[in-house]
Assembly symmetry: C2
Homo-oligomer: 201 residues x 2
Amino acid sequence: MNPTPNPQRRSEKSHRAILDAAMELCVEHGYGNVTVEAIAARAGVSKKTIYRWWPTKGAVVLEAFVELAGTATRFPDTGDVVADLRTQMTAVLANILSGPRASVYAGIIAETQHDPALARELRAQLLDPRVAAARDRLRLARDHGQLAPDADVEMVVDLLYGPLYYRLLLHLGPYPPARLRAHVAHVLGSFAPAPPASAAP
Amino acid sequence: MNPTPNPQRRSEKSHRAILDAAMELCVEHGYGNVTVEAIAARAGVSKKTIYRWWPTKGAVVLEAFVELAGTATRFPDTGDVVADLRTQMTAVLANILSGPRASVYAGIIAETQHDPALARELRAQLLDPRVAAARDRLRLARDHGQLAPDADVEMVVDLLYGPLYYRLLLHLGPYPPARLRAHVAHVLGSFAPAPPASAAP
DNA sequence: AGGAAACGGCACGTGTCGTGTTGACAGTGC
DNA sequence: GCACTGTCAACACGACACGTGCCGTTTCCT
């Protein structure tokens, strides 16, 4: 079933051509209208070669996406949480959650709804590392007194990123940068440490 | 192309059987593993009959879902926004965003990523009315002084519902009821009117 | 009562999938 | 320098679901 081909003998040229062709075709025609045959044709590659290294079309496009997204979504640390989160989320919005690649990303997420293996890959390669990094950055801010000591970082991440995905996947319109600024400011402000001595339930 | 069949002559028996069969099969085998042929077979109906009244499988399942969801997602008005929102969102979570029907709903949303017509139907029949109702309820609360006068109700809705869809569609685990309570309380608390005379940017 | 129209049953052409087979080619080891 | 091993492109194939067309039958409005 799975002869596990030898990665050392893999043609890096074909590998690159396949990833490039997959991303190009998805941007041009939309994720759902791209077939494995079309990717193979554009890459000048046999369909068999694609199936040798990836289980499905979704896995191919996911790898192309991970590669693309991996570069521009790190969390800076200038000492100001609000500014740093705003910087990172602006980059995420610009590169992934809006523009021509947003619908491709949405297509991958759609595919994970009926492909558990792809869902695991999406989490393992894209989501989990970034969520962990976001939590780390928020914990750091909490330790430095920029967030309330009892702030639930998991809830913070949900509140920061949830609405972005919600609007993307439910076609509720884009998230303009100005709105993103207000969004980040409000969420983090709602977890600010109490200035003197008072608490609101 | 579209002879627009006469709704008055429609067989209500077949109509019901199709919707029931569609929902049953989706819950049993998962949205993605259900075919129009299977729905027709289970309903004791010709495939042609389904295609006469719906353009795609997604439209059939969406109608079944709208019918099911329409009953238990109204916004009560007891005077207490926090309690009312918690009540409504608990119902949404119990009936739609968790349990056996959650993955069916996720499957429909997935399909909208490459079916613009279905996306419009989803918004028109499910999302827009409920979002509008939520905004109305929040504006009422704002008028009654339970929310800050400058509270952005659109942002409130995004913060309330965004994380729920985010966790569903990205397979980040369910939203336990206790967490939902804390979530609603925090979000609405973050828009509470300032008690004496102070403002936090 | 009559006729139009929706109905169930069936068969068909299409497109995509994922696999199988073949012969050409490139890297490694003796 | 030569055989070996495994990847490569090319093509063919069966399986499956889609969406449509045609049939004779049944249902319901006028």
